[in-house]
């Protein structure tokens, strides 16, 4: 495996904030001359002191944010093998499609008759997502995966409430992402952890002991958060259904099974999808995402409003007519612009392409897991990973004092984005790797967690790994949890406490 020279990828050091570029009297703005009579703001409502926004020329603005972009690493910069995040290539065609004025300039409260193209797109995308997941209908409204989770839990709550008792607990595997228990709480439930077996799968016997008539449901990903397929999924869903509970599919890992298996066929009742994972809508540096939620037939009445419905004459409309609906999860219809990109991805790939996406994602992950196994063995060697795997640096730490974080920093030093580290929480010195289908799978696959010198190589030479990154921008060695000194820029206003620097 040849990596080539380290990549220097940051802008020049010492880029100040946009405020540092400001000079009084400079401006980038231009407006047409006012063509009507000016008006006065009533005295009592007037702003007394202008806000301290920067005064900059457009040229300076452009250079500043261009330099910031050079201080950032994206999928377009290089491999980004963050486990559980599915950082795959974002096709450019989706950006072009979403920029069409008929989508980009459409007001959310336009009459339905003037938005038939947008509604048709939503209608077809909903149907495609239902086919991929095995659900009956879906809402495309939740603007993110976590919001999709809460939508699902509120649907669960509405269902049980109609049956006379909302119930009080939701079961969640101990390996699950933190949003699951947080969403459960916001849905009004207490999260109860379900233990994993030594093979990294749900402990089915323990689950059987945990279910009762007070359990509203179970939240699960499959493949699970460790990248392993829950082989006993049919038994698991049956156990929960037998006490009247519902089973929720967290779609974080749907990328592994498209065209191969469907949550609906496994017995799941509610499914959310992260379009920014499975369908390659850009992560945006931390949003926007979209978290559509599909449900089985008997839960359809609870889906949020408005919903797209088709009249007998073929006309589509945003319908608020759903008396049993949980209500509204977003101010408007969700992240429509993201959904356009998801549509582009789904129908560009089609039935054959989506299946190939999953096959390549699984092949790449297994290849990489094998290639680095000598230095970084799988945390659960008895189960075959799917689209991602969790390796551990525990042995390396024991033998050489090198921790997962050191490996990540070393990978950064070589010019690549490292894997997820220290997640899932249940694995010691975890390194969670997801190459996705868009990593090159051939020899030369650019990055495993510590493949700095190639598979089986000496990535872990303690002295080298322990060095802090040398080529990365300011802030390089700041641990992410250090308390930051300031959470806002700008000059302190008189009469307010001045921001303090601790160091």
């Amino acid at each position: 495996m040849i990596l080539g020279a380290p990549v220097r990828r940051q802008g020049p050091p010492g880029e100040g904030t946009v405020r540092d570029l400001a000079q009084p009297g400079r401006a980038a703005w231009s407006f047409p001359d006012l063509d009507v009579e000016p008006t006065e703001v009533p005295e009592a409502h007037r702003r007394r002191q202008a806000p301290g926004l920067p005064e900059v020329a457009e040229r300076d603005l452009v250079r500043h944010y261009t330099r910031l972009s050079q201080m950032n690493y994206g999928v377009d910069t290089g491999i980004y093998p963050l486990g559980s995040c599915s950082m795959k290539y974002n096709p450019k065609l989706a950006e072009v499609a979403a920029a069409a004025p008929g989508f980009a300039r459409l007001h959310p409260l336009q009459p339905d008759g003037t938005a038939q193209g947008a509604l048709e797109m939503l209608w077809r995308l909903e149907a495609a997502l239902c086919e991929i997941t095995g659900m009956t209908r879906a809402t495309l409204q939740p603007p993110a995966g976590a919001c999709g989770e809460l939508t699902g839990l509120l649907i669960m709550r509405a269902h049980h409430t109609e049956l006379g008792n909302p119930r009080s607990t939701v079961l969640i595997p101990d390996s699950a992402h933190g949003t699951n228990p947080a969403s459960a709480r916001l849905g009004g439930y207490r999260a109860v952890p379900v233990p994993s077996t030594p093979r990294g799968l749900v402990d089915v016997d323990a689950l059987a002991g945990l279910v009762n008539e007070d359990v509203a449901g179970l939240m699960l990903t499959n493949p699970n958060t460790l990248g392993l397929f829950e082989e006993d999924i049919a038994r698991i869903t049956t156990i929960v259904h037998d006490v009247g509970g519902l089973v929720y599919y967290d779609g974080a890992n749907l990328n592994a099974i498209m065209g191969r298996s469907r949550p609906g066929d496994m017995g799941f009742d509610i499914v959310h999808i992260n379009t920014h994972k499975t369908f390659a809508t850009p992560h945006g540096g931390g949003g926007p995402g979209a978290g559509p939620v599909g449900v089985v037939e008997h839960l359809v009445p609870y889906l949020p409003v408005p919903r797209v419905q088709r009249d007998p004459d073929g006309t589509l409309r945003m319908s608020e007519d759903a008396p049993r609906s949980i209500g509204r999860m977003h101010g408007f219809h969700g992240n429509f612009g993201v959904l356009v990109r998801a549509y582009a991805y789904v129908f560009f790939h089609g039935s054959d392409g989506l299946q190939e996406v999953s096959e390549l994602a699984v092949l790449n992950a297994n290849y990489l897991a094998s290639a680095i196994a000598e230095d970084f063995p799988l945390a659960y060697p008895d189960s075959r990973p799917m689209h991602e795997f969790v390796a551990t640096a525990a042995g390396l730490e024991r033998d050489a004092g090198v921790r997962a974080m050191d490996v990540a920093k070393r990978v950064i030093d070589l010019g690549y984005h490292p894997s997820t580290v220290y997640f899932p929480l249940v694995v010691e010195e975890a390194m969670m790797v997801e190459p996705t289908e868009t990593a090159s799978g051939s020899p030369g696959a650019q990055s495993g967690p510590g493949t700095t010198e190639g598979p089986g190589g000496s990535a872990a030479r303690p002295l080298r790994v322990h060095l802090p990154p040398r080529l990365t921008p300011p802030g390089a060695s700041v641990p992410a949890r250090s308390p930051a000194d300031r959470v806002r820029g700008g000059r302190p206003r008189s009469g307010r406490a001045a921001p303090r620097r601790n160091r």
Binding site: G11, T17, V18, A28, L34, V36, E37, R46, P51, L53, E58, L61, S69, M71, N72, Y73, D76, M87, A98, P101, F103, A104, L106, P108, L109, G117, A118, M121, G178, P181, A182, L186, F229, E231, A234, G259, D265, P282, G285, G286, G287, P288, G331, H333, A344, F347, F348, G350, D352, G353, N366, Y367, R384, A408, G475, A476, V478, R481, A484, R488
Partner: protein, 429 residues
């Protein structure tokens, strides 16, 4: 590659899926197509919509047709930024982190509040999060002024089903909201929107006094484009201010992606949801930026969390940041002045029609106002679509004839005059 893995075929990689659960048929979707074909498909859908130059937009209620300067997406569209993940890895994310820090700083300057997060999903869900912050202290009730957009109230009601509250709306027959009277120590938050759903300027301080007396938090839904000319939330005694940030740099996009803004007094920072970026220094003393105060967040607190927010709307916040920097203090004030003046001109033009009257006469407004039509506002709006105008948004919760009209700096005197003529013709027909 299969040899390295040690399996003979791709199928073997999926062998752990039990036989009965394998999909033994292709997905029932069309087969993949070329780029040319998918772009043609989406372009034909987009052409079926009427928007932009094709339909002059006077619709608002939280989403506005403001001008987006060319520089915004020329920069926000740089793929080093938009193809990156949440900036957990500060060494590789200084660009996004610094932009978000600048965003927070500008939001604080706008609102005259101490601390802002890195954005939330949209205005309505930002209000939900603000209410959750207020309720974190153990109080339960949530009072909502009558002038708050019913869409925001519906969103609160939905999320309240899980959190265990029902928002109580103080009815406001006159367009301007009435301050709360039924207030007690169980009230966690009093919510006011200023300018309100009808564009009317509210007396925010009249809500602050009873809220403070009862120990409740005062939450204001604000319009960021108003803050060049209108008094900021921090000067009005507001504890938490939230807004729909779409007007800064983001296209209408049929309702999203937008961004929620949320700023608060410093004492509430540990209850604040979502990402917060802080400035710090590295081992060599150089400035750098990191996600901070993460102990508040769902991935640390898990079932003890008061928010499940995992991402923000970074890309939208970046666009808003660039737009705010483009505006500066002078441009923001000019933006506000132009909106207000053009809205005032449109108000005179429409209420000058024989059969149209102000829905709430005498109330000062910002860039939006309500008129009462002699016929169904929905029918009139639909008839005006045929003449090339999106005339506004009906307000059926007031009555059948009320139409809310929004006027941004993007509208011209000519367009406003043409709307008035078209409306007169529609009403006469």
């Amino acid at each position: 590659m299969l040899a390295t893995v040690g399996v003979p075929s791709i199928d073997d990689l999926f062998s752990q899926i039990p036989e009965g659960l394998r999909l033994e048929r292709p997905l029932d979707l069309p087969r993949g197509v070329s780029e040319q074909e998918i772009l043609a498909d989406l372009a034909s859908l987009a052409r079926r919509d009427r928007a932009g130059e094709d339909l002059v937009c006077f619709a608002g209620r939280g989403a506005y047709d403001h001008f987006v300067p060319s520089v915004v997406w020329a920069l926000a569209g740089r793929s080093e930024l938009y193809t990156s993940y949440t900036p957990y890895q500060p060494e590789l994310s200084q660009g996004v982190l610094q932009a978000l820090f600048e965003f927070q700083s500008m939001v604080c300057e706008l609102t005259v509040l101490d601390v802002s997060n890195a954005s939330l999903y949209d205005g309505a869900t930002a209000l939900v999060e603000a209410v959750n912050m207020a309720r974190a202290g153990g109080r339960s009730r949530v009072l909502v002024a009558g002038g708050v957009d019913p869409r925001y109230v519906e969103t609160l009601r939905t999320y309240g089903r899980g959190s265990g509250y029902v928002p109580e709306v103080i009815q406001a027959p006159d367009g301007r909201s009435a301050p709360p009277t039924d207030i007690d120590p169980d009230v966690a938050a009093v919510v006011i929107q200023h300018p309100n759903v009808f564009g009317i300027l509210e007396d925010v301080t009249a809500f602050g006094a009873p809220a403070r007396a009862a120990g409740a938090m005062l939450i204001q839904v604000f319009d960021p484009t108003s803050l060049g000319i209108l008094a900021p939330p921090g000067d009005l005694g507001v504890d938490i201010a939230v807004a729909e940030g779409q007007p800064f740099g983001n296209h209408l996009n049929y309702g999203g992606p937008y961004l929620g803004m949320l700023a608060a007094k410093i004492e509430h920072v540990r209850k604040m949801p979502g990402r917060i970026v802080g400035e710090t220094v590295d081992v060599d003393g150089r400035p750098g930026y990191v996600l901070t105060l993460q102990a508040r967040e769902q991935h640390i607190r898990r079932e003890k969390a008061t928010s499940n927010i995992c991402t923000n709307q970074t890309l939208m916040a970046l666009a808003a940041t660039i737009h705010m920097a483009w505006l500066g203090p002078g441009g923001l004030a000019e933006l506000g002045r132009q909106c207000a003046a053009k809205a005032s001109y449109a108000f005179d033009a429409l209420t000058g029609l024989a059969s149209v009257e102000a829905a709430f006469a005498g109330e000062p407004f910002f860039k939006e106002f309500a008129v009462r039509l002699p016929r169904s506002a929905t029918e009139v709006r639909d008839a005006l679509v045929d003449r090339g105008f999106l005339a506004g948004v009906p307000a059926p919760w007031v009555d059948d004839g009320t139409l809310i009209v929004a006027v941004t700096e993007r509208r011209t005197r000519q367009e406003i005059d043409a709307l008035a003529i078209a409306m007169e013709e529609v009403l006469a027909s």
